[in-house]
Amino acid sequence: MNRITESSMVSAVDPQGSAVRRSILMSLSPVFLFFICLLFSTDSADARVRGRCKDCHAMHNSREGSVVTRAGLSGPFSSMTIGGCMGCHGQNPNGTQNIIVQGNMRIPQVIHYFEDGDLAGGNYIYVAEGHNPVYSRGHNVEGISLQENSPMNVPPGFVGGVNIPGGTGPLFWSSQRQLTCAGTWGCHGNRIIEDPFAAMSRAHHEDDGEIDGSTVGRSYRFLYGILGKEHRNWEYLASVGDHNGYKGDYTHSSMNTISYLCGECHAKFHPNANLGGVDEVGHAYDSVWRRHPSDISFGGVHNGYLDSEYGNYVQYSLESPVAYQNPTGRESKVDMDSIIMCLSCHRAHASPYPDMLRWDYSQVSARDNKSGKGCLVCHTKKSQ
């Protein structure tokens, strides 16, 4: 009580009072800012699933005496989940939520009808059965789409037995084998393990504060071995300075880039020697490209970066993003060390456009001078 009175007196009679307060505030502000930063860094770094067990798990495939159902699926479900992957990540395909808040959890939805709300990977609604699917617009994942007909029933550019984090990829992809969310025949989880749920085991509950690729939980978006910076809203309302940070490596000496993951199934489209190599894709310095390269920097083009058309791509584009050697998700500048990747042109899941492209390739025309759109985000002089 005395302390309050004394403090009040100081401010009432001491003409220096406001200066003192200012001084205190000034000295406190770095502390305050530090805590704010800490709060944000914690918020964006640790995506470990927390909250009520019951939101995702049912112990006996039994609820009120009936089998557990969710999202039109009925149990039993592996790992005692309620509805498997789609039970959580595709809870309401007809709904308009791209992120569903459930208890303490925020769950990204990979299929929904939120207009202009597609997350970074895209939206499976474009290829999903029951939603007028156009199969060329996305990956035909089991449980979402039916398998495509030949030749698209195996991954284009597939090479058997390539090196993948932890071992070797499948030697052969049967025409009967459909793509799954995770596991050997999918993208997420440990691809050495065939079963999707076993491949994802422990990932959701692991401390993923540091994405170092050492485990599935500590890999970018649970893509085992891949590095990157995860945007906390999965790029919903992302901006030029706040987005997913994709990992690239123009030396082709690592297996931790996002494009390498694509190459694990589409090997012939990646110049890494483990995958298609220069024989399939070409080489930056002494040949023309046979296929559009990925994991190469703008500085790696023949005739040099200076005065090249890529020099005009200076501000990060969410429409045609680039990768970085050490991504932070905060890069707003593009320069000669910025790296072209598969996701510069494609979405990972599905998009409104053929070939899962980020734009309508059939409408991109050099003649129409639409610099800054589609291919022309990078190829700036093609429209001049």
Binding site: V49, R50, G51, R52, C53, K54, M59, H60, N61, S62, E64, G65, G75, P76, F77, S78, S79, M80, G103, N104, E194, D195, F197, A198, S201, H205, E206
Partner: protein
């Protein structure tokens, strides 16, 4: 020589003391305290035959209930475990308390035992998961009749006998040690089972877990799951997926040696484990040997939480260090 005699006498006394301490449940004392008659309890039979008990299940309930909140009461000089208080119990026993299902708390709080509450409105007397093939009883569970304390439609006593009273006969006054499952009397808490299957084995806390702690508590064995399975089918062994992951939470498997389970080191009465040969309370969790049991998560009679769980699964958060997270410490 005198010292040797003294040692033998001491050991003898210690043995006697321990045998009492570990719950010798043989009932003695005043007959009338338990066997007094109340209106409607006896019924005439055909001419020339003796009167017989009716309201047989209520007879169990009558002795094992209490009008106040005490969960151990005295009858004729005997300490009687109370499984049903008509007011909220202060310290529910190991099996919980039927108060939670008897009042307005709802069917999901416990087993709807006849004489305490009416038949479950949803399941209408049918045990969820019941499979006749999993029930070793020669008679089997009859969903047309209510759940009883004992007998073929109950848990205690000999489940090859339909009449609950007959099925529990000769247990309370019999020598009940050692608990080897050889008879209902020598089965853990008189859970005798049926069809040639041995009764449940376990270590009975002398206070029925009234103040269960890591050091002093009931000890379960995997045989308790066999009894649960009798009415609820094989919820668990069918749960294993072909690729080594679970469709249903397992029981009867050892607490893994590796991973998050390592942090569960001291026995927690909120998530008890089963031991193969339980002979006394132990605070130690033996990874790789102690097993998950139905009672790791559920209580047998009734409790304040849905699905007879030991904790509030509906509100349980991964951040909390209780409930599921006692074992799943890194979730």
């Amino acid at each position: 020589m005198r010292h040797k005699h003294l040692l033998i006498i001491c050991l003898l006394w210690l043995g006697i003391a321990m045998s009492f301490d570990t719950g010798m449940a043989t009932i003695g004392g005043d007959c009338d305290a338990c066997h007094n008659l109340f209106p409607g309890m006896m019924d005439k039979t055909h001419t020339g035959k003796a009167f017989q008990y009716v309201l047989k299940n209520e007879f169990c309930v009558h002795c094992h209930s209490n009008a106040n909140s005490d969960t151990i009461k005295s009858l004729g000089g005997n300490r009687v475990p109370v499984v049903h208080n008509t007011v909220n119990p202060i310290y529910p026993l190991g099996g919980g308390n039927f108060q939670y299902v008897a009042k307005d708390f709802g069917d999901r709080k416990g087993h709807n035992v006849d004489g305490i509450t009416s038949v479950d409105k949803k399941f209408r007397g049918f045990p969820p998961g019941y499979k006749r093939a999993s029930d070793p009883s020669f008679i089997g569970y009859d969903p047309g009749r209510p759940l009883m304390c004992a007998g073929s439609n109950g848990c205690h006593g000999d489940r090859d006998i339909e009449d609950p009273f007959a099925s529990i006969m000769k247990t309370h006054h019999a020598l009940d040690k050692p608990i080897d499952g050889s008879s209902s009397a020598k089965s853990y808490r008189f859970l005798g089972n049926a069809g040639g299957v041995k009764g449940v084995v376990g270590f009975e806390d002398k206070d029925w877990n009234q103040h269960g702690s890591s050091k002093s508590h009931n000890e379960y064995s995997p045989s308790i799951d066999i009894l649960c399975k009798s009415c609820h089918g094989d919820f668990h062994s069918e749960g294993k997926g072909e690729n080594d992951h679970w469709f249903s939470h397992p029981t009867g498997i050892p607490i893994p040696v590796l991973g998050e389970y390592q942090k569960y080191k001291v026995f927690d009465p909120d998530a008890p484990v089963a031991r193969e040969h339980p002979i006394m309370s132990s605070p130690v969790i033996n990874h790789g040997r102690d097993k998950v049991t139905c009672l790791s998560c559920h209580i047998a009679h009734a409790g304040p939480y849905d699905s007879l769980l030991r904790w509030d699964y509906e509100g349980l958060l991964t951040e909390q260090k209780k409930g599921c997270m006692i074992c799943h410490s890194e979730k």
